[in-house]
């Protein structure tokens, strides 16, 4: 039996039946991490020792019958913008490289309460700003399908780790597509829930009105189970929503007969890679064959989503990131003269170029004299986009389209042309602007063997419809894993073993 090939729920079941021990599963994941990390760099921090201790504690609780959840004992990873007490939380930024929080994010806490073993913190674009995980201050993550390509971003580390079996599932965060796009590039499944479904407490904010934590897994079933576990109404997050339908796994049925699926024509215009288009339309056909009613429609306003998103997200980010000033925690410049110089140098040296670009953009659009022209206009656009979706959901249960215009670009291709990189978010950002749930399910590969993802979008609180459609589609194909071409030889493995156990950090 190959432990790493199991899905999270399959492993959970075997742990429950005592067929596999929690420590055994944890060690298997850690061994995989040791083997692949030198090449892939999915993690910023691996908490080897901590994970093994946790594994023992969880095992004891399972043995005593205190933990009976379907994912108890399953090793997982969390994106490095979620606080975990006692473990560095860097947001892949130099400015937070030494920051160790004294509290744990609510979503992570819920996971751990259900017996998750946390393997470590995954790499990301610095402060979740980027679409490739190349803006990380700790090196880029490579795509497990082809290490010459990016994993997407900003949750690139989480998605690559799941694809490379360096964990059984992971948490990502999605502000403008940061779960759905890398899921598409890495051939895994990811859900961005309705805004307010998962507590943001302990998630280091990028664009507060858009940020949502969500699951990344090997399939829809795993994601539904993880989402069920991390969703909650949390008094510590004032934007958290009280809802009653947390039982997402109840939607895991193959029956989609009569479900209305809309395909926005606007998502299939110029700029979309033809192989991606074909794969997505093929998936629509599969759903049609299973009884869904599929039709094309005009969503409208699609071209305004990107400018509105970058104005709002950057405006919020410029304010959210102002707390990183070298005074209370995090990086402080070694040499400075006076307060102003300390601020300026610490921030200039601590932030990377993409973060600086967005702080400047955000500060500009909030400046007096520009506020109405940019920020306010973006808010109005956001409201109009929401209305366009409202109209669409009067007719359709689910909207189907691509998650990204292409498959994963090669490393180093994207950062030279930020505008082009921003345009790559065209299919994902409007979902965040409207607060909707969205999901990516793998639906094929291009000629280069890189995965293609299918994006499903639902109306607010309609995650279950996404899960139903996603699950039904998934039954038509088997989960594909990358042939981990990067797998290092046994001898190299041992070498690294020595290095790792010393520090436990990557």
């Amino acid at each position: 039996m190959k432990i790493l090939e199991l899905t999270a729920l399959e492993l959970g079941r075997k742990i429950k039946k005592r067929e596999i021990g929690v420590a055994e599963a944890t060690k298997a994941a850690l061994a995989q991490i040791r083997a692949l990390e030198p090449e892939l760099n999915c993690y910023v921090t691996v908490g080897e020792e901590q994970a093994l201790i946790q594994a023992e504690q969880v095992q004891r609780k399972i043995d005593k019958g205190e933990l009976a959840g379907p994912l108890a004992g399953v090793p997982a990873a969390i994106k490095d913008n979620m606080c975990l007490e006692g473990m560095a939380t860097t947001c892949s930024s130099k400015i937070l490289e030494n920051f160790v929080p004294s509290y744990t994010a609510e979503a992570v806490k819920r996971m751990m309460d259900q017996g998750a073993v946390i393997l470590g913190k995954t790499n990301m674009d610095e402060f979740a700003m980027g679409s490739t995980t190349e803006t990380s201050a700790f090196g880029e993550t490579k795509n497990p399908w082809n290490p010459a390509h990016v994993p997407g971003g900003s949750s690139g580390g989480s998605c690559a780790a799941v694809a490379a079996r360096e964990c059984f599932y992971a948490l990502g965060s999605d502000t403008g597509g940061s779960i759905r796009q890398p899921s598409s590039f890495c051939g895994v499944t990811g859900i961005k829930p309705t805004y307010g479904t998962v507590s943001r407490y302990g998630l280091v904010a990028y664009g507060s009105s858009l940020d949502q934590i969500g699951p990344v897994g090997k399939n829809v079933k795993d994601c539904a189970a993880v989402l069920e576990m991390i969703s909650s109404y949390d008094k510590k997050d004032s934007t958290s929503i009280q809802r009653e339908d947390w039982d997402f796994t109840s939607a895991l049925t193959e029956d989609i007969k009569g479900m209305r699926i809309g395909i926005p024509k606007d998502y299939f215009g110029p700029g979309l890679d033809s192989q991606v288009r074909d794969a997505v339309l093929m998936a629509a056909k599969v759903l049609e064959e299973k009884g869904a009613l599929v039709e094309e429609f005009d969503l409208s306003l699609v071209e305004y989503a990107i400018p509105a998103y970058y104005v709002i997200a950057s405006a919020e980010a410029s304010s959210n990131l102002s707390r990183f000033d070298g005074i209370k925690y995090g990086y402080r410049a070694k040499e400075y003269e006076g307060l102003h110089s300390m601020y300026k140098k610490s921030r200039s040296e601590g932030f990377g170029p993409e973060v600086k670009r967005r702080i400047m953009l955000g500060s500009f659009v909030l400046s007096s004299g520009y506020y109405d022209a940019y920020y306010l206009k973006a808010l109005k656009t956001k409201a109009l986009i929401k209305k366009a979706f409202d109209r669409a959901f009067e007719k359709y249960d689910v909207i189907l389209g691509p998650a990204a215009p292409s498959t994963a670009p090669r490393l180093g291709e994207s950062l030279n042309d930020p505008l082009k990189m921003y345009l790559g978010d065209i299919y994902t950002v409007s979902v965040n602007l409207a607060g909707l749930p969205g999901m990516t399910v793998p639906c094929g590969k291009d000629k280069k063997g890189l995965p293609i993802g299918l994006q499903l979008i639902g109306n607010c609180f309609q995650e279950k419809k996404l899960i139903r459609v996603g699950y039904a589609y998934e039954q038509s194909r088997s989960y594909e894993e990358p042939e981990l071409a990067v797998r290092v030889s046994e001898s190299q493995k041992e070498e690294h073993e020595g290095e790792r156990s010393a520090g436990g950090e990557v």
Partner: protein, 479 residues
């Protein structure tokens, strides 16, 4: 000065609210405390922390707004005011710009020329900042976040005041109102009430306002009055010299009795205000407003009228008693226990006021237990102690909050009515003063007064004067 000038003043008043916990987290608002002990991830701006609004802050802001005749924004929002300073852990302050909770109200003040309405432009809720401590010895700055996140309201007036007297009357009015509402203790010295003065001058009859300055660092009513006088004269002098007033923020130095510019409009900060995405809008429905309105306590104006009507106190007395919520509460609680409103009022108006003046204290600082004052009043009424002794007992009650009964007992201050004991004392005095006896016999009534006085002195004031009078008379007659 050839021209006649008019001073135009508007005020921005910050009031620290009396909530037990901070505006966006559960930390204590208690004053004092070792540095950074009343803190958590939220009020120290830790990454990933989120604010949760304390509803009591909204209640207090509503109460003040309603008392100040304001309109309420029933859909109000919090905005972020962005600026870098180490006392501000997030480098933005959560405040209200676009939709403040209260707007367009007024309060009435008494002026020499009669009553006058001062307009309230708006009242908004916001969080206080921490405190920076500059250690010049170590050449470093430390920051204490205990005050970070303590709730404030800022009350912005219209430019309706024309003199320092009006400003002080307005501040007194606000302070009284807010204290009565229990929304704050409004202590200027401790910083729980802070006022910034916006002032401009113009020629009498001019329609346009002059260029204004903003004055900060005003820690007492006296400092405010002095600062207004100083700034008015500074601006008039500039205009007389043909110079212009520069729009700027100035810092008042009360020791030097002068101000200096902190920053001008040119380098005014752009705060990049925008709605705080972490806090949903606050929706205040009619029922909520009605509940707050219902709970509004009796304010000073109403109390003043009631004291005159219900207790038959003169307007002057009623005014002094109600000029401090604390004093009025003490008065009412005492009267509830012992009746005799006029008597209680007299103790507070004369002895209490005298002692406050001697100690340089405010009525808010009176710590006397109303039960003790009531006991004292009763003891005087029942003639357990005489009035002279009672004033000493009052001082002990006032300064040390002693139990008057125990105090009188332990010091043996009860009135002596034992006629036998008094008789022997009087006899002794008569023996020693044959001249007084002779004078009395010769019809000099004054002589009796002397004997009474001697007796009281011998009894250290504890004798009942009526009994002494009676006995002295009898004994003199017997001679």
């Amino acid at each position: 000065m050839s021209k006649q000038y008019e001073t135009v003043i508007g005020l921005e008043v910050h009031v620290e609210l009396a909530t037990k916990t901070k505006i966006f987290c559960g930390c204590s608002t208690e004053f004092g405390g070792a540095p950074n002990t009343h803190t958590c991830p939220v009020c120290t701006g830790m990454p990933g922390s989120l604010p949760v609004l304390n509803r009591q802050v909204v209640e207090y802001a509503l109460a003040v707004g309603l008392a100040a005749n304001c309109e309420i924004h029933q859909y109000c929002k919090f905005d972020r005011k962005n600026y870098f300073y180490p006392d501000n852990p997030q480098n933005y302050q959560i405040s209200q710009l676009y939709l403040p909770i209260c707007h367009d109200g007024w309060v009435e003040i008494e002026t020499a020329a009669g009553n006058k309405r001062i307009g309230i432009h708006e009242i908004h809720m916001e969080e206080d900042a921490g405190k920076l401590i500059h250690d010049e010895w170590e050449d470093c700055s430390l920051v204490d976040y205990n005050r970070s996140g303590v709730p404030l309201i800022e009350i912005v007036s219209e430019p309706d005041m024309r003199s320092a007297d009006e400003v002080i009357a307005y501040l007194e009015k606000l302070r009284m109102m807010i204290q009565y509402l229990g929304a704050s203790d409004c202590k200027l010295q401790e910083g729980s009430m802070r006022a910034d003065v916006n002032l401009s001058v113009r020629e009498v009859g001019a329609k346009e306002f002059g260029t204004r300055t903003e004055m900060k660092n005003l820690n007492s009513f006296k400092a405010i009055a002095r600062a207004i006088e100083g700034e008015k004269n500074r601006q008039i002098e500039l205009l007389e010299d043909g110079k212009k007033v520069v729009q700027e923020t100035r810092r008042w130095d009360d020791n030097k009795e002068s101000s200096h510019a902190m920053r001008s409009k040119e380098d005014a900060k752009d705060y990049r205000y925008f709605p705080d995405p972490d806090l949903p809008p606050v929706v205040i429905d009619d029922a909520w407003i009605a509940r707050v309105r219902e709970r509004q306590p009796e304010l000073q104006t109403e109390k003043l009228a009631r004291y005159q009507k219900e207790y038959g106190l003169p307007r002057y007395d009623a005014h002094i008693l109600t000029s401090s919520k604390h004093l009025a509460d003490l008065f009412e609680e005492t009267v509830k226990l012992c009746g005799q409103p006029k008597e209680v009022s007299n103790w507070l108006m004369t002895d209490a006021m005298r002692l406050l003046k001697e100690k340089g204290q405010e009525p808010e600082q009176i710590s006397m237990d109303p039960r003790h004052l009531a006991d004292l009043v009763k003891m005087v009424g029942e003639n357990v102690i005489n009035r002279t002794i009672a004033r000493d007992v009052f001082e002990a009650v006032f300064t040390e909050n002693v139990n008057p009964k125990e105090y009188v007992e332990s010091k043996g201050l009860t009135v002596v009515r034992d006629e036998g004991a008094l008789q022997s004392v009087i006899e002794e005095i008569l023996e020693k003063n044959p001249q007084s006896v002779a004078d009395y016999k010769a019809g000099k009534q004054k002589a009796m007064g002397f004997v009474v006085g001697q007796t009281m002195r011998a009894m250290k004031g504890k004798a009942d004067p009526a009994v002494v009078n009676q006995l002295v008379k009898e004994l003199l007659e017997q001679r």
